[in-house]
Each structure stands twice: as C-alpha cells, then as structure tokens.
Symmetry: C2
DNA sequence: TATTCCCTGTTAAAAATTTAACAATAATGC
DNA sequence: GCATTATTGTTAAATTTTTAACAGGGAATA
C-alpha cells in the first residue's frame, strides 16, 4: 500500500482505540458519522481515511468494527509487530511501561535501560531494566527497532546517538531537548509544555 | 494581533524553549537558519513565523534572543498569565507538576484534585491537592482557566463536564478517552500510544 | 566609494490536508 | 414495485501549511 499521510496515520491509531471501545460495548458495526463524532472530526474525513487504507463498508450498515480493527492492526503494527525499548526508568519511563502493559498490542516493550543501580536489574511490569552499557548488545539480541527516550534532557543527545549506532530505526523523544538523527531514522518528539502552551494561547485568543 | 495558525503557535513554544537554551549558553543573537536547524525545519518557516508575530531581526545579526523570548511570552502566556489545575494526582499528574515546577512561566499550576484520601490534603512540589468535591469552589476562588486531566480514563468525561460547568476555558486531556466539550472550551487531547504507533508505522513504511 | 556578500522580510507558488459535492445503491416504507 | 431515504466512495474544490523566489539593504572588503 502506498504511504499514508501523516495525519491519517495518527487518526488510524485513534480510530482503533475508539473502535475497540465500541466493541466492548457490544457494537459490531459503525457509521462514518458515529466514528467522526467520537473523534471530533467530519464524517467525510473518516470515509476518506477508510478509502485510503482500502477498506469498504456496507451501504446502510456502515463499517464492520472487527474487520477495521484487524486491518488497522496490519497497517500500524504490521504482521510481525515491533520490539521496543525504554531508556530512562524514572517517573515517565515507568508510567509509560505500566500504561502500555496489557494492551495486547504487537508493539511490545521488551527491555528498559538506566544507569542508576537502584533501577537496574529489576523488572517493571514484566520489563527487565538493564544497565545502559549493555544497550547495543540487548538491542541486537532482542531485535529492538524503536527506542523511547525518557532520561533527563541533558543526556538525550548522546543516548540518541548510541541508539542510532546500535541500529535502531525509530526514536520517540519525550525529553524537552530537541534531537538530531540521520534521515533514515524516524524521529518523533513530544513535549507536554507545548500542548499546555497551545491550550493557553487558544484559550485567550479564540474568536 | 490576528490569530496565529495552529502550527505556528506550536512552534513558538519550541522556539522559546530553544532560545532559552541558547541564552544560557551565552548567545545573544541568532539567525533564522540556526533556529531552523535546532527545530529540524527550514529557515523560511522560521522567518515566516517571526513575521507573523510582528517581530523583526536585524540584517546580518539575526534576531535578538531576549526580545524574542519576551515577545513569545507576551503572546502565549499573555501579560497576566493563566492559572491551571491538575485533576488526578497519580503517576502522570505528579510527574507533570514536578516537570513544570521551577520553569518560572506565567502559566502556573495553582491547585490539584483527587478523590483518594491518600492523595488529598497534601502538597506536591508546592501545589496543594484538594478533594475533587471542592473543585468548583477552588476554580472560582483561584481563578483557574485551564484544567489538565490525568485521572483514569473512565471518569474523564464526567470530570470534563464538571470542569466546564465550573467555568473553565481550556482542557488538556491526557487520558486515552476522547472527550466532548462545548465549542467555547478549547480542548487538546494527547495519547502517547498514538505517538508510538506513528513511529511504528513510519519505521516500517518510510521510503 | 564601489562591490560583494549574507541575511532578512515578503510575496508568490507548491504541497498537504480538509471539506464539499454528488453519484451510486441498498434498505425501507408505502 | 416504486419512490424515498440513508449512507458509502470518490472526485473536485477550498483551505491551510510549507517552500521557493527574490528584492532589499547593511556590513565587510578593498
Ligand atoms: N515527568 C513528566 O511529566 C515529564 C513530562 C514531560 C517531559 N518529561 C521529561 O521526561 C524525562 C524524564 O522525566 P522523569 O520525570 O521520568 O525524570 P526522572 O528523573 O524521574 O527519570 C530519569 C531517569 O533517567 C535515568 N538516567 C539518567 N541518565 C541516564 C543515562 N545516561 N542513561 C540511561 N538512563 C539515565 C535516571 O536514572 C532516571 O531513572 C525528562 O527529560 C523530563 O524533562 C517529563
Ligand atoms: N502513565 C502514563 O505514562 C500514561 C501515559 C499516557 C496516558 N496515561 C493516562 O493518564 C491517566 C493517568 O495515568 P496514571 O498513570 O497517572 O494513573 P494513576 O492511576 O496513577 O492516577 C490516577 C489518579 O486519578 C485519581 N482519580 C481517580 N478517580 C478520580 C476522580 N473521579 N477525580 C479525581 N481524581 C481521580 C486516582 O486517585 C489517581 O490518583 C490515565 O488515564 C492513563 O491512561 C498515562
């Protein structure tokens, strides 16, 4: 399948979460306008996204929820899934692991790293924490493709460098320090303060 | 000033963080291409954003870092600042308060709420935690305009409703449950899983 | 003082994303 | 069975966002 637009990928993730939610409520089918309402977007956009991933609903019945969940899974998780590491087992790192635990996704956190002896050689929500010195070794052995950085910001650049050298393909950076990686590594950065400041701005400047 | 584009507002927040960073390194001026490099964007975009906020650099010297920080502060924080509450003092809520503490921003967290007696009537990083029953009262007294929701997802909708009734103007929702609020309330939602799944997708589908 | 160079500010073009419009058609009601 | 209704799929238009192009103009050089 051709590459999907950035924004469509983000929405697919949200569609899936909403669809799973509907499934637990006993719903088996859903209309574009229902899904749109849940995500605060327009029904057209839902239909367009669904068109882009090559799925089709049935007229007057809408979309089959299970089928859509499966298809989105194939697209995002891929059939083989991916293996993930968290670097920095502080508040955020631990919270993340607990949050992802038990989601039953094919994206699995299989290792974590820290340098603090209080953190290393322990297991958090089923994820073992190694000393960061062993990172390259474990990344290879465990076939890890994605690293999530939740260390203090100062060390984030060197962590990123080492992850790249170890052969990782994607980095999700939660420190406020903006990173630089080679083109072939996909980098996503998120800072809570930006979200908060965005709300602050639009609260004061909304029409 | 006319309303700025969504994306520009997000970047302003990042500009400011990067500029503060440069300031501590002793830099007083910066070129568009330098700032662009830090944010992985193009110099044109930097210049355009700066044009939109009505600031001007000097030819051959670039932009005055302090002046830009001040101006961005006026735009995002506004002169009076805003007062913020966190609802749900679990892992994420506490982490957030610690993270924002000591940033010296005009956006200040002035209260937090929980229902668990283990959490209430304590102070975390200088922020008092009240029982959620007192929320409406405190929101009025403390003139709180923004609420950050970090409760379990199940209760998020009812929390949001009550925040809206209490007269809040903006909500930042970190639970994976998508919310619905009246138009006049600005809503921003963020789910870490979406970021992770986005990385997962583009790692496998990058050209 | 002329010339070159570098960097800004801005308008115009391009690209990405969203929204509108509507044809097609299965189910429903009469 | 025929018209009506509801809903999808898709093309085209509109909007938003990014990128390109380039005209200034101040500093440096000579
Ligand atoms: N806590 C939040 O809500 C929040 C929000 C946004 C961003 N952040 C950012 O996320 C990051 C983590 O925040 P936190 O609250 O979890 O911090 P934290 O101090 O609790 O955790 C950081 C962890 O990284 C470990 N570490 C330090 N150096 C390391 C290294 N070289 N290699 C591996 N591990 C190392 C530390 O031992 C510690 O366990 C910070 O950059 C913070 O700015 C935090
Ligand atoms: N921890 C993460 O990394 C992470 C990441 C993304 C999203 N989230 C989401 O953020 C939210 C919080 O996560 P967490 O790990 O901090 O959970 P948590 O269980 O540690 O904290 C939740 C807190 O909310 C309080 N609470 C429960 N009901 C309440 C109510 N009605 N009013 C006020 N407070 C109430 C609880 O007492 C608890 O202190 C969850 O929705 C979670 O899914 C967490």
């Amino acid at each position: 399948m051709k590459n999907l637009p950035d924004k469509t990928v983000e929405r697919l993730s949200q569609y899936r979460r909403s669809l799973n939610n509907q499934l637990t409520k006993g719903k088996t089918n859903i209309f574009s306008h229902e899904l749109a309402h849940l995500l605060h977007i327009t029904p057209v956009q839902v239909r367009r996204d669904i068109m882009l991933i090559g799925y089709s609903g049935t007229l007057r019945k809408g979309y089959d929820i299970k089928e859509m969940i499966n298809l989105i899974g194939k697209i995002i998780d891929t059939d083989e899934g991916q293996r993930i590491a968290v670097i920095g087992m502080g508040n955020l790192g631990k919270a993340f692991i607990h949050y992802l635990h038990e989601k039953g996704s094919k994206l699995r956190i299989v290792a974590s790293f820290d340098v603090n002896p209080d953190k290393t050689n322990k297991t958090y929500a089923g994820v073992h924490c190694y000393h960061f010195d062993r990172m390259a070794e474990i990344v290879k052995k465990e076939e890890i493709t994605i690293g999530i950085i939740t260390t203090p910001p100062e060390v984030a650049p060197q962590i990123a460098d080492k992850l790249v050298k170890a052969g990782i393909n994607g980095i999700l950076n939660y420190t406020p320090k903006l990173l630089s990686v080679p083109d072939e590594v996909y980098l996503e950065e998120y800072d809570m303060i930006t979200s908060l400041e965005k709300v602050a701005y639009f609260v004061k400047h909304r029409d």
